[in-house]
Every structure is written in C-alpha cells, then in structure tokens.
C-alpha cells in the first residue's frame, strides 16, 4: 500500500507540471501570431459625428422590459417584461399588433421572433414556449401555445435558428440546448460552462453551424451545433458576460460584461483583439449589438455608448432612458436599433 501511495503522488506531480506547461504553451502560441495591434486600423479614416435620435418610444409595458427581438420584416418587434406580458408591436406605426399574451409567471427573461414572422418564442422561468401569431385579434393566443424547452433552472436567452423549427436556449443551469419545436425533443445539449449561461448568439456564416454563449464563469464559448462540442473558448473578462453578439461577417464577436467593458474577439486569430472601455464608465454592459462599423452597448447607468469597431474609440453617447438599459438589438437591415429598459419603455 505504501508503494502505491508513493506512485500516486509521483503521477500527480507529473501530471500537474504537464498541464501547467500545456496552458502556458497555448498562451505562447496565441501571442506568437499577434503581430499588430491597431496599426492596421490607424490607416482607416475616422468616422464623422453621428446624430442619432430617438425616433419612437413604445409605451405599454407595466414593468421592466427584459428582452426584445426584431422580426425579419424590419419593423415589427416582440418584447417581454417583468409584468408577465409579451407584446408584439409594429414599431413603425407604434401600434400593438397582437393582444399581449399574459404569461402565468413573471420571469419572462427571453423572447424571440421566428424567421418566418409567424410565431414568437417566450422563455418563462425554466420553460420556453412558441406561440403562433395570427391576424385575428380576438384569438386567444395562449390556447395555441406549444411548450418546447425545459431546463432545470431559469431560462436566460432563446433564439430561433434559420427556421421556425428549431430553438436554441441557454439557461442558469449552465447548459445550452437545441430543441425541435414540433416535437419538443431535445436535439443537442451543450455542457461546458461552469456557471449560469446568460446569453447566446448564432453565427451568420454560410454553414450556420456555430453559436457563441457567454456566462457567469467569465467565459465566452463557441460551440458546434452538430456535435455539441465547444470549439473555442475565451476567458479575458473580469466578470459575468451579459451579452454576446456576432459581427456580420461571422469572423468575430463582441461581448459585454459586468466589468464595464466590451471586448472584440477574433475567431480566426483565436484571441481578444480590442477592448472598448473608458475610465468614466463603471457600470456594467447589459447588451451589445453590431452595425457595420459601430458597436452599440446598453449600460446599467441608463446610457447607450456607441463605439467605433476599428479604432476602439467612443463615437457617441445617447441618453433618454430613465433606468438601466436591459436589451439592445439592431434591426435586420441596419436602419435603426431598439433598446428596452427597466423604465418600462422601448426606444
């Protein structure tokens, strides 16, 4: 027995040193290819001044707005709030489209519009259900709902894939999952986060097979939807990652975190390439989204900061909300972006 103990100790020590060297080797490899920082961006011309105004204010929620999503027709949006209501709006005319669907519970932290425009998905507490939309104003939508996803902890985000038939969800139980809407079947689950997963975003690439998720373990993981494996992982934030969003080209993504910074990660170079922060910004970022050259961030200090993606400088700061900005999305054709806030409104 004594010799076994000694053997065990030796293997432990051996493995320990091996793994430490592995990790430092990875950092070395990553650093080797980092030959330029912003020299490339310096040659690009700067952006002029931007005048961005609130064009619409959508009032109708009775409590904090927690999530919103655009419809592919570029003018309709769905929003969910802590009063348990999910409202579909035509943001252009500011009319409420459907009778607001009232949820049986108040934790409606996620909502998504289906690509066809014919349904919305809402995540309440630990379940996600899909509600088909109809033209008939009197129809009781709650009756037609289809329960799809089920987690063992709260649902933090949900999103349709390229079709109405599949939903991707992330949850406080540390996993993400892909579901078949028709049957409610679990198609694939993604394990790897060590804490709650707070956000996810699907890649806009031609193959459309990957997505990124961010969690309370400060990691942003890129996953392969086919195999359920984590392909890449980035751990440079100092606090929980509240929001992730892919760049339109699909080669990079940004994340916003409680440490008051947004960071840009390049997937091909496999590293963080830019940090968007300022000494004067100390409140966390709740949500981020991209336009071609601009990164919009909604912050917990009630403002929206607009950053130049290439130069890393702040282009503009927008005021208007009277409480923290909880969600932010750019419209599908890039003509506008919408924010939802704890002040019960959307702009």
């Amino acid at each position: 027995m004594a010799t076994q103990e000694v053997q065990l100790n030796e293997t432990l020590v051996h493995l320990k040193t091996e793994s430490e060297s592995l990790k430092s080797k990875l950092e070395e490899e990553r650093a080797k290819l980092h030959d330029v920082e912003h020299q490339v961006a310096e040659k690009v011309e700067g952006l002029g001044q931007f005048v961005m105004k609130t064009r619409r204010t959508l009032k109708g929620h009775g409590n904090k707005v927690l999530c919103m999503d655009w419809c592919k027709d570029k003018r309709r949006i769905v929003s969910s709030s802590q009063d348990g209501k999910v409202i579909v709006w035509d943001a252009f005319t500011t009319n409420k489209q459907e009778h607001a669907v009232t949820m049986p519970c108040t934790w409606v932290m996620a909502c998504a519009y289906a690509p066809s425009g014919c349904a919305v998905a809402c995540g309440l507490d630990n379940k996600c259900s899909v509600y088909p939309l109809s033209l008939d104003k009197n129809e009781n939508l709650a009756a037609k709902k289809k329960s799809v996803a089920m987690h063992t902890n709260y649902l933090s985000a949900c999103s349709f894939t390229n079709s109405d038939m599949q939903i991707l969800t992330s949850s406080g139980d540390g996993t993400c999952a892909l579901w078949d809407v028709e049957s409610g079947q679990l198609l694939q689950s993604f394990h790897g986060h060590a804490a709650d997963v707070l956000c996810l975003d699907l890649a806009p690439s031609e193959t459309g097979n990957t997505f990124v998720s961010g969690g309370c373990d400060k990691k942003a993981n890129v996953w392969d939807m086919r195999s359920g494996q984590c392909i890449q992982s980035f751990e440079t934030h100092e606090s929980d990652i509240n929001s992730v969003s892919y760049y339109p080209s699909g080669d990079a993504f940004a994340s916003g975190s409680d440490d008051a910074t947004c960071r840009l990660y390049d997937l091909r170079a496999d590293r963080e390439v830019a940090i968007y922060s300022k000494e004067s910004i100390i409140f966390g970022v709740s949500s981020v989204d991209f336009s071609l050259r601009l990164l919009f961030g909604g912050y917990n200090d009630y403002t929206i900061n607009v950053w130049d993606v290439l130069k890393g400088t702040r282009v503009s700061i927008l005021f208007g909300h009277e409480n923290r900005v909880s969600t932010l999305r750019v419209s599908p054709d890039g003509t506008a972006f919408c924010t939802g806030s704890w002040d019960h409104t959307l702009r």
């Binding site: 076994q4 493995l15 320990k16 091996e18 793994s19 430490e20 592995l22 990875l26 290819l33 980092h34 030959d35 490339v40 027709d73 003018r75 252009f92 005319t93 009319n95 489209q97 066809s116 425009g117 014919c118 033209l135 089920m150 987690h151 063992t152 902890n153 709260y154 038939m165 599949q166 540390g174 996993t175 028709e182 049957s183 409610g184 679990l186 689950s189 790897g192 060590a194 709650d196 031609e206 193959t207 086919r226 080209s249 080669d251 990079a252 008051a260 390049d266 091909r268 170079a269 496999d270 390439v273 100390i282 409140f283 071609l292 050259r293 993606v309 290439l310 054709d333 003509t335 506008a336």
Partner: protein, 445 residues
C-alpha cells in the same frame, strides 16, 4: 458590482423548489417493493448490475399512476433524470428519459439534490481524481493548484484514502457506486473536457494582422450599404416616416434596387441569402442547364433546419432525386463524398448531407458564381435595376408622413404567399416520371 436582483441565485433557486419534495415522494413510491417498479439484474459490458429498470417501464408506471398520457409521462420522467433522482447507465450525458429499453437506476438518497450540502468544489476535485477521464486530470491541476493550494495535502490524503477504500469493495458494488457518483456530478457540475487545451494548441491560427485586415476589407466593401454610414435611398423610414425603402426591397419585387444588385456580387452567400437574388441565380442556372446543384443545396438546407419528424422522408426523397444512380437530377460530386453520403443515408440524421452540401456549395462558389457575374442575365438585371431618388421632404410633409404611417403587410400573409409560390414552383419543376406516363398510356391502350 451591480445589484443582481434580476437573476435568482442559482443554488437558492435550486433549493427553493418545493416540487423537489414532491418528486422525492414519488421516487420513494416507485421503489416500493409491492406497488412500485421491479428492478432486475442486467449485464452491462462485463459487470452485472443489480436493480436496473428500463425506461419504458418507468414511463408506463408514471402514466398509470398519475393517469396521464405517455408523452406527459416521458416529460415527467425526464425531470427525474434532469434533477438527478434517476440516472441512465448508457448515454449518461444526455439528461433525458427515453421511452425504450434504455437502462436506468435510482440514485441513492445520499446524492439527492435536496440534501443540504452544496456541490462542493473539494468533493468535486476528489471525485475527479478517482475515475474521470485521464485527460481531464491534466488541465484540472491548474484550478486545483490555484484554488485549493492550502488544502492540497488534505486532498491528496483523502484521495488516497478513498482509493484504498474503493479497492476493497467488490467489483459490482464499485461499478454501482461509480455510476451513482458520476450521475450526481453530471447533474451538478458538467465535466470540462480537457482534451480541449491540446486541440486548442494544435488548431491553426491566423496572424492578427491578417484577421484585422480582413475586418477592414469587409468594412470597406459594405461601407455604402450600411444605413448608419451612408444614406439609404430613397430615405431611412425611421427618419422620414415613409416606408418606400422597405417596399422597394421586398422579397418579390420585379425590379430590385441598384444597391441590392450590387450586394449580390459581394459573395455567393449574399446572393443566396437574398431570396430575390437566388431567383435571379436560378434563371441563370436554368439557361445553363445546371440547376441541380442549387436545388440539392436548397433541399439539404431544408433537411438541416426541418422538423425532426420529417427527417427520414426528406432524406429518402433527396436520395431518389439527386443521389441515386440514374436519378432525374443527379449531382456530380466526387466518389468519396458520394460514398460517405449514401452510407450515411442508411441512418439519416440532420447533418447527413453536410459533406455533399459543402462540396456543392464550394463548386458553385468557385465556378458558377463568377460565371453568373459575367453573364448577360446579371448584366441585364444591373441595367434594369432602380436607383430611387432621395426624398426631400419639407417640414410640413414630414409631419404629414408622421400622421399617415402605412401599416405594411402582416408577415403571416406574406408567409402564406411564399408557401403558395413554393408549392407552385415545386409542381412545375417536378421531373416527369416517364415510366408512369408510359404505363398510363399502355393501360389506356
């Protein structure tokens, strides 16, 4: 830093679930020697494991006991697995209950989630040492060394003690205990695969300058197409309250705008994602008699994103139409890919056509796409495309616009139209079944 009122604390949420008490009561009932489920001994690999139950038996018991349908019982059963009251012996990572002969066991009360102890780091590390995958042990040392340095000697001692004790147990008991422990940790702390570091080091990376350069190039290409950087024609609907911009760019316009046509030339991906562009591409392909590649690509996309139930029928149709020798729309892919795909179609799953689809996409991207851009079809549409005049509304007109915002068309109406169009196109394109026609003629005679 910020007050986390919006997110319930994970462990507290877990514990506060009163339903767990109810679940436990049912689990106890399930194990009742008289009215509960009967376990049996099953052979798994080489060891015989006692008290094993099949998934379908559990589901049948639940359905019977609670007077619910089989589907509901299956969802209910999945909850037992998800919370860790029942664990699967095969395929233990997927936390669902399957309505078939997959084997399950009841978890010992020691590991039930309502036990007051939190899934502690120390315990996790100990278990990790004992039986998880050897690769996992490697990179885990970092965490261990950092977090538990002060407890290091204690851990090593505990680990060796546990190791000794486990050696003394009989083999079947050990297997059972290992299964129980593993099941507990899969529910409470998902294992981090640490072959990951090895793979991460080997993966090919690109120099920062190259990737940043690509980003700059992307931005330069799309600069004039971004509504924040360049004015959109005729005007941004949010600024002028006039939605002609959206109407001009709808799915089924006869004449697209110049910007839209220009965007199609950026990449095959852009061309195919814009359905109007795809239509134009189809016109070109029809002239070249090479429409089957795009048709195959579209069918493969439908398979990937379709409902699970339709999978096998779709796969069969695709095989008959595109891949079978002598098929009416046979695609020309290399032998190896064809072989792999056909083999995969024996057990069709969502991604069975992935290899073939990528091959076809690359073919189109490297060859057909460029020929399209130089073709008369494309040049024609470029000439015809509209270049709307920018709006120049006066203040009064702007106010008028704000009063008369058009409601647009509801997406469900558009969707129905789309489906109808698709059905029409499919019917028109269906290859004529010569045999059936001939036999019809024969019968008439």
């Amino acid at each position: 830093m910020t007050i986390r009122t919006a997110r319930p604390d994970r462990v507290q949420h877990f514990r506060r679930l009163h339903c767990l008490k109810k679940l436990e009561a049912i689990v106890v009932e399930m194990q009742d020697p008289k009215s509960g489920l009967k376990g049996s001994e099953q052979k798994l690999n080489v060891t015989t494991i006692p008290h094993v139950i099949a998934g379908k038996d559990i589901i049948a018991w639940i359905a019977n006991k609670m007077k619910i349908t089989v589907e509901e019982a299956q969802a209910f059963g999945t909850m037992f697995v998800a919370y860790g009251y029942i664990y699967a012996l095969q395929n233990h990572k997927k936390l669902v209950m399957c309505n078939d002969s997959s084997l399950y066991r009841f978890q010992t009360p020691y590991f039930w989630p309502t036990q007051k102890w939190v899934a502690d780091d120390t315990d996790y590390e100990l278990t990790f040492f004992n039986f998880l995958h050897p690769f996992s042990k490697q990179a885990h040392y970092n965490r261990l060394h950092k977090w538990l340095f002060h407890k290091w000697d204690f851990i090593v001692m505990q680990a060796t003690e546990q190791y000794k004790a486990s050696r003394e147990r009989k083999k079947p008991d050990r297997v059972v205990f290992d299964c129980q422990e593993r099941a507990y940790w899969i529910v409470n702390r998902p294992p981090v695969s640490n072959m990951f570091y090895q793979q991460a080091i080997m993966r090919s990376k690109v120099k920062s300058s190259v990737s940043l350069g690509a980003l700059v190039k992307y931005i330069t290409t799309y600069k004039n197409h971004d509504p924040f950087l360049a004015p959109c024609l005729p005007s941004n609907p949010w600024q002028t309250d006039n939605d002609s911009y959206w109407n001009l760019n709808m799915r089924r316009v006869d004449v697209p705008t110049k910007m839209r046509v220009e965007r199609w030339s950026f990449s095959l991906f852009e061309l195919l994602t814009d359905l109007r562009g795809r239509d134009d591409f189809k016109i070109f392909l029809k002239k070249e008699f090479s429409g089957e590649n795009l048709a195959f690509w579209e069918a493969a996309e439908e398979l990937k994103w379709g409902t699970a139930a339709s999978m096998s029928t779709k796969a069969e149709t695709i095989f008959k139409t595109f891949l079978a020798p002598g098929a009416p729309r046979w695609i020309n892919i290399d032998g190896r890919t064809m072989g792999l795909t056909v083999k995969g179609l024996d057990h069709p799953h969502r991604y069975v056509l992935e290899a073939a689809q990528t091959h076809v996409f690359l073919l189109m991207k490297k060859d057909t796409f460029f020929r399209y851009l130089k073709s008369p079809v494309y040049k024609d549409i470029q000439k015809k495309s509209l270049n709307p005049q920018p709006h120049n509304f006066s203040q009064a007109q702007l106010e008028q616009n704000a009063q008369n915002r058009s409601p647009g068309i509801h997406p469900t109406i558009l969707w129905k139209q789309e489906e109808e169009e698709k059905a029409k196109a499919a019917a028109a394109a269906a290859p004529v079944d010569v045999k059936a026609m001939m036999s019809k003629i024969d019968r008439k005679k």
